[in-house]
């Protein structure tokens, strides 16, 4: 089938009334949770994941994808109106977006962010349609060593991208890999590190961990700090950018689309990097860089487009290689596994309806966000006015019910509380949660690839370097490790010198 046939198949799947409905529900729910201060896409998906358990896999993934980009959009709304980034990718939007809101230009800021996202989404769907099949066919040549090296690379990219020092990111990733080993060993059936607890006998459930790390932790941090909301009180009277604003945004949107698409494909987390890079590029290319940080629409259009392009292209490694590009797609990977699907090169071949349906739904969903969210801005502003004292018990209630539902297990509530405390302490000692989550999700596959490779090579670790693809990936991973260590080693050298 040609790329066009695939896109048509995707739209046939996506445009059924039920799938359209779930796409809509996902976009709306995602935006709603994304708008709530302090809750990013990860928490949004975690909170709404249990709602998808009763759906067929295609509808469920369409809804989850809707929650993903819906919450990304909702996150930028919060950044612009309240100056609180929903997640790291929206930090940059705060700089100029909130300044625009303070100047009474919140409407165009929100508008350009939605249009930019839609344009990036349009480009993203074609890119997905064109490159997904060749990548997945190429990935069919991957054996366990290639997968192991690719996952090493993904972890290395992610650990290098977090703002924490490399050693902390590595510890976080190692903890995640360790947590992934808890439960029965797949090869021998031996129970590992279960401490006799039945709730983790099979493996540590992804939902209590995510709810704990991203839901409970966020609430604990916010309760401790007390949210200082600076909601822009300027009336939002017009949402469409004017001719001048369009003119200034056109090139940033085009560049943001390209930057986001390229960086988004990188396994390991291109979303944050793409918005930061886009902002830096726009500032450098601008004839008036001094306007940045004071309400320049280019500073909103570029990064918002780039992070949407990156988040959409993040689905490429997820669907074609089974490797999540960032934490949110890691959670989606976990969700796919919960539905009994194994993302990877065979997914497109075995479940073309799921893959192309989801891809088409992203396009439709972006259109829905564009049409719906602009008139709904008034509602989102009201949502932002809900006092946090009422909001956070509701978030906790969602977490509690969401964790309890899948297995009717109170033990999993304890697990969630435990990981909430762990996440809180990690935030305090500045250990990033993203590598832990990613590593935990891919932990089992990672270990299997490692053990199978060793069996193949009869115990030689050189198998990871001798095969061309694996060797290349592993070399890049090692290079990243070395490059990431330099700042810390440099610190010691300087200290010794002084």
């Amino acid at each position: 089938m040609s790329a066009l046939d695939n896109i048509i198949l995707g739209f046939q799947v996506c445009l059924t009334p039920m799938n359209l409905l779930w796409c809509f529900v996902g976009c709306l729910g995602g935006t709603l949770v994304g708008v709530l201060p302090g809750l990013g896409p990860q928490a949004a998906i975690a909170l709404l994941l249990p709602a998808t358990f009763y759906l067929p896999p295609v509808s469920a993934i369409i809804m989850l994808a809707g929650i993903y980009y819906g919450s990304m959009y909702g996150g930028s709304t919060t950044s612009i109106l309240v100056n609180i980034p929903g997640e790291a990718a929206s930090i940059i939007t705060c700089l100029d977006g909130h300044q625009m809101a303070k100047q009474g230009r919140a409407g165009p800021a929100l508008g350009i962010s939605a249009f930019g996202s839609f344009i990036a989404g349009t480009f993203g769907i074609f890119l997905l349609a064109i490159v997904a099949r060749p990548i997945s066919e190429f990935a069919l040549r991957f054996g366990p060593p290639e997968y192991f090296s690719l996952m090493c690379l993904a972890l290395m990219v992610l650990t290098n991208l977090t703002s924490a020092p490399l050693s902390k990111s590595l510890i976080s990733a190692l903890l995640g890999l360790f947590l992934g080993t808890v439960g029965y060993d797949i090869f021998t059936g031996y129970p590992r590190f279960t401490l006799g607890l039945t709730c983790i006998m099979d493996r540590i459930g992804l939902i209590p961990v995510i709810m704990g790390l991203f839901g409970v932790t966020e609430v604990l941090m916010n309760v401790e700090q007390g949210l200082k909301q600076t909601l822009s009180d300027k009336k939002i009277d017009h949402l469409l950018p004017n001719k001048e604003e369009w003119k200034r945004s056109a090139m940033p949107i085009a560049r943001g689309t390209i930057i986001g698409s390229i960086l988004g494909i990188l396994p390991g987390g291109g979303v944050v990097m793409s918005s930061m890079t886009s902002y830096a590029v726009e500032r450098r290319l601008s004839k008036h860089p001094e306007r940045f940080g004071k309400g320049a629409i280019e500073g909103v259009a570029g990064p918002e487009t780039a992070n949407n392009a990156a988040s959409q292209c993040g689905f490429i490694p997820l669907f074609t290689l089974g490797i999540p590009a960032n934490v949110t797609t890691a959670i989606l990977l976990g969700a796919l596994m919960l539905f009994g699907l194994q993302p990877g090169p065979m997914l497109i071949k075995n479940n073309p309806d799921l893959f192309w349906g989801t891809v088409a739904s992203m396009y439709v969903g972006n259109g829905m966000l564009l049409i719906l969210n602009l008139p709904l801005i008034g509602i989102w502003v009201r949502v932002l006015l809900i006092p946090y004292t009422l909001l956070f018990p509701l978030i906790l209630l969602f977490c509690l019910v969401g964790v309890y539902i899948p297995n009717n297990s109170v033990d999993e509530l304890w697990l969630m509380i435990f990981f909430g405390v762990v996440g809180y302490i990690f935030q305090k000692i500045q250990i990033p949660l993203a590598p832990l989550t990613l590593a935990m999700v891919i932990g089992r596959v990672f270990e299997n690839a490692f053990r199978q490779s060793l069996l193949l090579s009869q115990g030689s670790l050189m198998i990871f370097f001798q095969r061309p693809i694996s060797g290349t990936l592993m070399s890049i991973a090692i290079l990243l490790l070395v490059l990431g260590s330099i700042p810390q080693l440099w610190g010691i050298r300087e200290k010794l010198r002084t």
């Binding site: 510890i171 080993t181 018990p393 509701l394 209630l397």
Partner: protein, 154 residues
Amino acid sequence: MEGFVRTREVIPSIAWIILGVMICLGSTSMRLGSLSSPGPGLFPFIIGCVMILVSISQAIVYAFKKSETGHFWQNREGVKGVIIVLVLLSFYALALMHLGFSLCTFLFFVAILKTLGRKSWNYALSTALIVSFFSYMVFAVWLKINLPKGPLGI
């Protein structure tokens, strides 16, 4: 709080070293196998070893780092809030099977709104009642989720 950052970094590093050692010991109690025939303990053993190495390097890096000042806790009120949330979450997990979903949710909300929200009894009781009623309707009646029933039968 001079030296706060150094302490904040070195103590966790020691904790990671201890955890790494525990993982290694736990792994060796399983079959480690060999590189050509890996047992269930080999992979976690390697993780434990790498964790020890990374933690030692982190401890060294921070031992050389310039001391900075700071506070682990933001303020006394904030810490109190965190503890209250954790106690109430634990209460929910403990009481859910005994009191049932609706009563548990009601009490959870009343307690949070009174302690952290500092709302009046009228506000706390009425909000808790509305939330527990609607959440019961959504989860138990509409979505037909089997939630624990308490002495009230809901």
